[in-house]
């Protein structure tokens, strides 16, 4: 048991958690930020992707204790004053989702891509999304949405 102090979506949080608490569990069950999804729970599917100190990671495969003191951004942290992030807008506009389960991870992963590569090619987008699995729409519209967002960010 230890104290976990994080800055999550710009807000400082401090909670007690057992040492085996995963970051995904900490976000969902201790902070009630359920936008971060747990899909496979084996670091394959990417539904749990969040940003830690500016880089994307799979929160189901990181201990909360291990990222203690970091700045975390989840899907809930992307909007500004009730306005969707350009990546969220693009997913909506281009039907980059169907059931939406993978979407938080897809969006967080794609935002990280555009932080590092402002104008990615189709191949670069597909390579980057290697760790995010979608079971409904396929990837055409997701790739199109990332490209669209790149023109707005």
């Amino acid at each position: 048991m230890g104290k976990i102090s994080l800055e999550v979506n710009g807000r400082k949080v401090e909670k007690e958690a057992s040492d085996n608490t995963l970051l995904s569990t900490f976000l969902r069950e201790h902070l009630q930020l359920t936008g971060t999804h747990i899909g496979c729970d084996t670091s394959q599917c990417g539904a749990c992707v969040v940003h830690v100190d500016g880089n994307s990671l799979k929160s189901c495969t990181a201990l909360a204790a291990d990222v203690n003191g970091s700045k975390v951004t989840t899907i809930e942290g992307l909007e500004t004053n009730g306005k969707m992030h350009p990546m969220q807008e693009a997913f909506k506009k281009l039907h980059g989702l169907q059931c939406g389960f993978c979407t938080p991870g897809m969006v967080m992963s794609a935002v990280d891509l555009l932080q590092k590569n402002k104008k990615p090619s189709d191949t670069e987008i597909r390579d980057w999304l290697e760790g995010n699995i979608c079971r409904c729409t396929g990837y055409q519209n997701i790739v199109a949405a990332v490209k669209e967002a790149a023109t707005k960010m």
Binding site: G2, S18, D19, N20, L22, D41, T42, S43, Q44, G46, V49, N55, S56, L57, K58, T61, A62, L63, A65, D66, S109, D112, L113, W128, E130, G131, N132
Partner: protein
């Protein structure tokens, strides 16, 4: 996942002091955490070594590239110095897992785990690496002992990996289409005296293919290994690739690597 005590060590000394028969070092956790979640491994203590400053970083000298054990794959793939000195090593790092895994996973963790399909062990063998631990230096050829088995003793911590800069080199892999681990990966490195052909994914542990190394040391051309019929009796066979297919893939990937040098 069963509970454990999490420790963050300040230096190697503290890390090895905390180590016991029921502890594990935690670097990126890309294998350790999933193994614990699946109940394949349980530990009383997890000793995080990521915050030990000495264990991260990249140093390039005239003859070698030294990478700290806790250096992440993304740092290796983005390093301009490594791209210049051993481009095949940065492209290997760029092909591990996915971006989120590369943001967390470390070179020392990969080597200590010695997964039969891991990419980095082949680089260690091909590039005549020396594994620096808190106790000694171990040649790569003596480090990888068997499936998930290394020469590391309990509490012994990898601090850095020193790779010899080759004249030419290339790593080629046939990735699993879903997870991108190497069904077969071949790292060819041409050094001054000889050629190493390190193979991962094909057998229970990484190895240097003596037959191909000999042929390529005589004549460094893909034609010298073309059609080579490798013994597949010790090769892995599973739903993804039969032993015979793996034997054939080793030659194909080795040829591709030589041509890419």
């Amino acid at each position: 996942m069963k509970d454990f005590n999490y420790h963050s060590a300040k230096d190697s000394k503290e890390a090895s002091k905390l180590a016991s028969s029921s502890s594990a070092f935690l670097a990126g956790g890309m294998t350790t955490i999933p193994s614990m979640k699946l109940g394949l491994a349980t530990y009383k203590d997890l000793i995080d070594i990521k915050n030990i400053k000495k264990l991260s970083g990249i140093k390039v000298s005239g003859k070698s590239v030294t990478i700290g054990a806790a250096t992440k794959h993304v740092e290796v793939s983005n390093s301009k110095d490594i791209k210049k000195a051993i481009p095949s090593l940065s492209s290997l790092a760029e092909g591990i897992g996915d971006p989120q895994v590369r943001n967390r996973g470390t070179i020392g963790g990969s080597i200590a785990n010695n997964d039969p399909s891991a990419d980095y062990p082949s680089a260690c063998i091909a590039l005549n690496a020396t594994i620096h631990t808190n106790e000694r230096k171990i040649e790569a050829a003596k480090f990888f002992k068997g499936m998930f088995e290394t020469a590391l003793k309990k509490g012994e911590l990898i601090e850095a990996i020193e790779f010899q800069i080759p004249e030419k080199s290339s790593y080629q892999k046939h990735p699993n289409p879903a997870s991108r681990y190497a069904i077969v990966g071949v790292y060819v490195a041409k050094h001054k005296g000889d050629v190493n052909v390190a193979v991962t994914g094909a057998k229970s542990c990484v190895y240097n293919d003596k037959e191909m190394s000999k042929a390529l040391s005589g004549n460094f051309s893909s034609s010298s290994i073309d059609g080579m019929d490798l013994d597949s009796s010790e090769m892995n066979s599973d739903m993804h690739a039969s032993a015979d297919f793996r034997a054939s893939l080793v030659v194909t990937q080795a040829k591709k690597a030589v041509d890419a040098c």
